[in-house]
């Protein structure tokens, strides 16, 4: 087993407290670099570590930080994305509840490296207890001299503000998230300009996921090489996989990237519940195309992995579906989600998601017509790559995959004018 990078403390009693964190190497990395190591050197370290963003897109964290013009006269900001809205995803919750100081330390070191003096954590509104725990941890960090003015006597100042969302998936998109922090409706902004140039309050801004930032203390403490030694060449480090659905032991597991999908399901998670047959796996959150059992046969969980069925690592949210479930029904439920969460700013997404849901609901209810599968694909095609924010793609991808891979199920619904399940 590889060394735990992110979950080394979660089993400890009171792991969420400053005391336990400090007793277990906590805030040592910060003391090692703050005021002692040049910010640029830290950015280079993170680049070298190979750490990639864990929010879904896998963009190299150090490279993202490097986009910030360090000489910009504008105020710079960092926002930690704790929106955790992608269905199937529940990993950041664990990090925030069981090791909030690891995240806070990651935010402080990152902010120092980027030249930020005001940082935010954007946490989804439904996480009440989680926000309370974070709030308490932030208060402890202020008291302990890790936040606020003149941190640990280094002359570096950082304010950290916890901002609660209020029930909106699209606010997980980095530009909508900024709108929401600024007190607006969560309507995504057109890119460019990218947040690194014009972000929060018009200043250069870095947005990183909770899991990404939680890995920073380890990299600083053990070195970039120790981190990149874990995982594969293009996917360094460990990843939290959150497995849900029809397995015996659903939960969050920290595994080196490159870990085999089959082993995750059948060994780590104890296999299929009640010995049922696997029908499909949504590998990286609801937006990622579903995979058939034979498509996961030799699949390694890494960003660069490719299968003919189109693999995406996404947020690491693995949803395991057994053979009792109707795929038209699952597609309809996903479509309902995207139709509900579309912000409505652009026509292809607003109309496309609503229409897709209506058609799928109709097929599931027995009112399917010949040509419906083609129509569904056509609508997705009109959405894919043609919307303002990536939600349009996120809505289209899973529907395309389900219609194409389970075409016979659609035909059966239409032919029999009912759901055969």
């Amino acid at each position: 087993m590889t060394e735990a990078v992110l979950l080394s403390r979660v089993e400890l009693k009171n792991s969420h407290t400053l005391k336990v964190y400090e007793e277990n190497e906590g805030y040592q990395p910060l003391k090692k670099v703050l005021g002692k190591v040049e910010p640029g050197v830290i950015i280079d370290d993170i680049k070298e570590s190979g750490l990639r963003g864990r929010g879904g897109a896998g963009f190299p964290a150090g490279v993202k930080w490097g986009f910030i013009d360090k000489d910009s006269p504008k105020t710079k900001y960092l926002a930690c994305n704790a929106d955790e809205g992608e269905p199937g995803t529940f990993k950041d919750r664990l990090l925030m509840m069981e090791d909030p100081h690891q995240l806070i330390e990651g935010i402080i070191i990152s902010s120092y490296a980027i030249g930020v003096e005001t940082a935010f954590i954007y946490i989804r509104g439904e996480y009440h207890k989680e926000a309370d725990i974070l709030d308490a941890a932030i208060a402890e960090a202020y008291k302990g001299g890790y936040l606020g003015k003149n941190i640990q006597g280094t002359g570096y100042d950082l304010e950290l503000i916890l901002h609660r969302g209020a029930g909106s998936y699209v606010c997980g998109d980095e530009t909508a998230l900024m709108e929401s922090i600024e007190g607006h409706r969560g309507n995504p902004r057109l890119k460019p300009p990218f947040p690194a140039v014009v972000g929060l309050y018009g200043g250069p801004t870095v947005i990183n996921n909770v899991e990404t930032l939680s890995a920073i203390p380890f990299i600083i403490s053990k070195g970039a090489e120790a981190y990149s030694a874990i995982g594969t060449e293009k996917s360094a480090g460990t990843k939290l996989f959150c497995v849900s659905g029809n397995v015996n032991n659903p939960g969050v597991y920290e595994l080196p990237l490159g870990f085999p999908m089959k082993k995750l399901i059948y060994e780590v998670c104890g296999g299929m519940k009640e010995g049922r047959k696997l029908k499909g796996v949504i590998p990286g959150g609801s937006s990622t195309p579903i995979l058939l059992p034979d498509e996961i046969e030799d699949l390694e969980l890494a960003y660069e992995s490719a299968t003919p069925g189109g693999f995406m690592l996404g947020s690491g949210a693995v949803i395991v579906i057994d053979d009792r479930w109707c795929m038209v029904k699952i597609a309809a439920r996903l479509a309902k989600f995207y139709a509900h969460e579309s912000c409505g700013q652009c026509t292809p997404c607003r109309e496309g998601t609503t229409w897709t849901y209506k058609i799928l609901k109709r097929i599931e209810a027995g009112g399917g017509q010949e040509g419906d599968p083609e129509l569904l694909l056509d609508i997705q095609d009109n959405m894919f790559g043609k919307t303002l924010c990536p939600l349009g793609d996120a809505a289209a991808m899973p529907i395309i995959a389900i219609v194409e891979k389970f075409r016979d199920e659609f035909d059966q619904h239409i032919k029999e004018a009912r759901c055969p399940y």
Partner: protein, 157 residues
């Protein structure tokens, strides 16, 4: 004014100072008001607009965008049942349909005695414990219909 309490107004003003701009305090302000009043009436939102010196339509616009701000009175217990995929394939939909029957209301409605509001919601970010629901601020996990019945019976007492 006179609708929002002085302590809420004070809290909102204090939070606004933390942010780079006053209007950033709008989401927290709506939560503070909702905590005091249970929901956001037009007059309540108007008070917020006054405190933060924002146009009233700005406040309405934000309140209507986010689902967690209630635009009508809610029951004492707001039950949010997740029916997204991980919960659906572990029994979440049956639980939601069961509650519809038990309460005789649809999503978004409140029982006649004002005790329960039912909401069908999207993924609550707790799929490892599916099926889940939230009652007010608490998660209830690994649900079965029997467990749900017990929870409801307890709340009725």
């Amino acid at each position: 004014m006179g609708n929002l309490s002085d302590s809420s107004i004070k809290e909102i003003k204090k939070i606004a100072e933390k942010y780079p701009t006053t209007e950033s305090a709008l989401l927290p302000a709506l939560y503070i008001a909702q905590r005091e009043k249970g929901w956001l009436a037009k007059e309540t939102m108007d008070d917020i607009a006054d405190v933060l010196e924002l146009p009233k339509v700005r406040v309405y616009g934000v309140a209507t965008f986010y689902t967690m701000y209630y635009k009508k009175p809610m029951g004492k217990y707001v039950i949010q049942v997740c029916t997204n995929v991980s919960c659906m394939i572990t029994g979440g939909e049956e639980i939601y349909e069961h509650l519809i029957k038990v309460f005789g209301i649809k999503s978004g409605e409140t029982t006649g005695d004002g005790l329960f509001s039912l909401l069908e919601v999207e993924c609550l970010g707790n799929c490892g414990n599916a099926p889940v629901m939230q009652i007010n601020e608490d998660f209830y996990e690994n649900l079965t219909i029997k467990v749900v019945d017990e929870i409801i019976a307890k709340l009725k007492k």
